[in-house]
Symmetry: C3
Subunit: 331 residues, 3 copies
């Protein structure tokens, strides 16, 4: 495996095999598998789970890692092609990233959406411009519209807890003080579709996922015996649900328009998951969230601390799933 950028780049069988490897490494650790191997991690945006789980995962496989955080300990990096660099950025990614890649055996990059132009973010222009100059194995640690490590961890978590393969997966928009990127909702919908689930995207008006995201997920669902639909009716969405996957994201009708988005979300404070959301769900329905999550804004303490919540397992599986990816890439 040379690149891990999008679950859609792999067949369903590839992913199932990767998850099998993740489980094997859990029960049969290989503490020397990546001895002498080095992972470079570049964070254009903050991180907690990704930073810690990759560093710990490399160490558990006997490898090492280093961390570069542009703008903090390192100068800012320019990403625009052809820029006259007389501003704040002292170095261009076209030099900086190949240099870092030359020191390591695989490079991971986190670069969130710019959040101004939906078409540009959907095209992953920023991440693609970086990926283009790197000739080493490359990992997407969250880009504008993708977060394959999170998606893989979520899939494994559902397998671990025996969520039915063709069960009902409800991705629900939840409240947040600001517009957040579409990377996790896009990745979660695709993952659940690829797993073969009945995927329902529950969101208020103004927050529909971009048609390109839905179309891509539908293609995956078709191949796996699942389905994808959107609704703003909570009761309908949650009836019989096996998973409620909560996530915050920005308005797609007001993309890049913070004020317009703020007006919409001012009326949506009741999109905070409470125990009664599960009234019509399957009795075993699980609550998922990729974290970080704002308590009592996106979800109440009662749900997050209650028996349905599997958010800790999801976070733990970031490490186990990524260890499989690293093992496949570097051993």
């Amino acid at each position: 495996m040379h690149r891990f950028l999008d679950l859609a780049d792999f067949s369903r069988d590839d992913i199932v095999a990767l998850l099998e490897l993740a489980r094997r490494l859990e029960t049969h650790p290989e503490p020397r598998a990546l001895a002498g191997r080095i992972l470079g991690l570049v964070f254009f945006n903050p991180s907690l789970r990704t930073l810690a789980s990759f560093q710990a995962g490399m160490a558990r496989l006997g490898g090492s890692s280093f961390v570069i955080t542009p703008g903090q300990g390192t100068w800012q990096l320019e990403t625009r092609l052809g820029a006259i660099m007389d501003g704040a950025a002292a170095e261009h990614v076209r030099e900086g990233l190949p240099v870092l890649a030359s020191y390591c055996d695989a490079l991971g990059i986190r670069a969130f959406a710019e959040g101004r132009d939906l078409a540009a973010d959907l095209a992953e222009t920023r991440f693609a411009a970086m990926a283009e100059v790197i000739d080493k194995p490359l990992l997407n640690l969250e880009s504008a519209m993708n977060h394959p490590c999170q998606a893989l961890a979520d899939w494994k978590t559902m397998d671990d807890l025996a969520v039915p393969q063709h069960g009902k997966f409800v991705l629900s928009w939840v409240s947040h003080p600001r517009a957040l990127p579409l990377a996790v909702p896009a990745a979660a919908v695709h993952m659940a579709a690829m797993r073969g689930m009945e995927v329902v995207v529950l969101r208020p008006e103004g927050y529909a996922l971009p048609p390109a995201i839905i179309a891509k997920a539908r293609a995956a669902a078709d191949a796996a015996g699942g389905s994808v639909r959107e609704t703003s009716e909570r009761d309908d969405a949650l009836a019989g649900a096996h998973v409620l996957y909560a996530k915050e994201w920005g308005s797609t009708t007001h993309y890049g328009d913070a004020e317009g988005d703020a007006k919409l979300r001012a009326k949506l404070a009741d999109w905070c998951v409470t125990p009664d959301w599960f009234g019509r769900a399957d009795p075993a329905c699980r609550f998922m969230h990729c974290l970080p999550v704002r308590r009592n804004v996106a979800v109440t303490d009662a749900v997050l601390d209650g028996p349905r919540s599997i958010v800790q397992r999801e976070a733990y599986n970031r490490m186990t799933a990524q260890m499989a990816v690293l093992h496949r890439m570097l051993s």
Copy 2:
């Protein structure tokens, strides 16, 4: 050993055995003892010695570590229970810390006193709320009222340099531009009492240590054949002293009141240790300080660079003492 939070959680014999292990690891290194083991380090407050000594100590035992600094590379973490998280913090410690713990074999946390409510800080409410959600081995890297790693290093330093077991240990308040936490003075007094020393706390009016700290240290002193008393008389305190341990801390009569504290300390600039402080002390009297220290504010260059100063040995022993703790916890 599952937790290393407070010397008072251990018997004197336990601590003596731990120091024996520290000495053994100095003379007989075990470079593979913690192979494959991972230490997570979380710093809510700045660090130099703690960060470097733990990373180096783990590496010397063959293990690895990762570092998380909330608010820097990672978002801020909320600590209040039941908070409606619509402010700056994007994640609650109730999620963030168990997640980090799930990636590692032991977790260390630094979280200074909040410095507003003395009772809350004495009760370690902030640290306790974090410790409660962590099921992995846990290390206190300095909490509101404790710094057991420093205390252990200081004990070892006195043993290394043959400071008499029942010698006179003078903890003296010294000058600083601002009120600092009580963690180190509380830990130092307890450590010296537990070692069996004649402990004298020398401080100006308004800076008496909290009665709960003194009472706890006295119980340790009683068990070890030592004693604890407070005074504001420098000559009396230092007469015959074997150790002068200088430390800065905030007024306890004006706790959380920066203005009131500043008024008091404005008159205390002469609480800066000079060579003549040692006039009536034991000829072999040592100068100790946990560092960082402000030269020519808390202590003059002449003392810090002079032959009595053992601050470098204390700092070096952070690593040797912590290696014993890590070895006991994780090997």
Copy 3:
């Protein structure tokens, strides 16, 4: 090797042997050579290549490293002797650095020029004050007037690409929004002189290198059969050049005078390397730059992305050259 602070501290044969070791480690890796060894890295100034290449290099030799960044995760460190430390710095380098050195087997320090007093910077007063208190192997990660790791990497890069030993090496000043330190130009000139090259420093009026730098390089050139001269005539300088090494630096006639420097450089925007600079150069002339570089300010995209550019190789050789230094110091 106890210290690696300046190429001038070594004979030409020493450096040639070090480069031979670097090449040997490239073809015959020694993944356990520094097992159990720890490198401490202290960055008073930002870093990308240095941080990543040293961490990766140590890991490739089986060792470990830790990073301390004063003012970021750690408080600021005072460097002035005799200071009354009632300002922002909480600790003095006279304590902090020996403490860090006591945790590791070698310490690397980056501390740029202060940029106020040329004589003080030429005397390396800041770095020397730090080096003086450290008794462990010490590496200069860029000081006021030196960057020996960069120089060694550049030498190796020219060897790798068969640049003639006595070829013409043109160090050219190039445009930048601000005055930058003299460390890299000083180190590059010395390195090329020591390699035996015909060194020409091409720079506008006001940007001549300090006589002490030139004199030191000339001594090295004399011993190696090379030469050193300065000019402001571009055509003359570049005629027959085998290497154009571009670098930004501040005015030496207006050292520490940002306003005076800015007035001078306002008229120098055409000191941006374009393809036609190579018109009279040797057909195989290479373009070198230590990075980071501002595209289309110091050099155009066409040159940097063109076939003459060997900046990636230079950056990669930071790691290979430093691995030889670390191996010589610590194995």
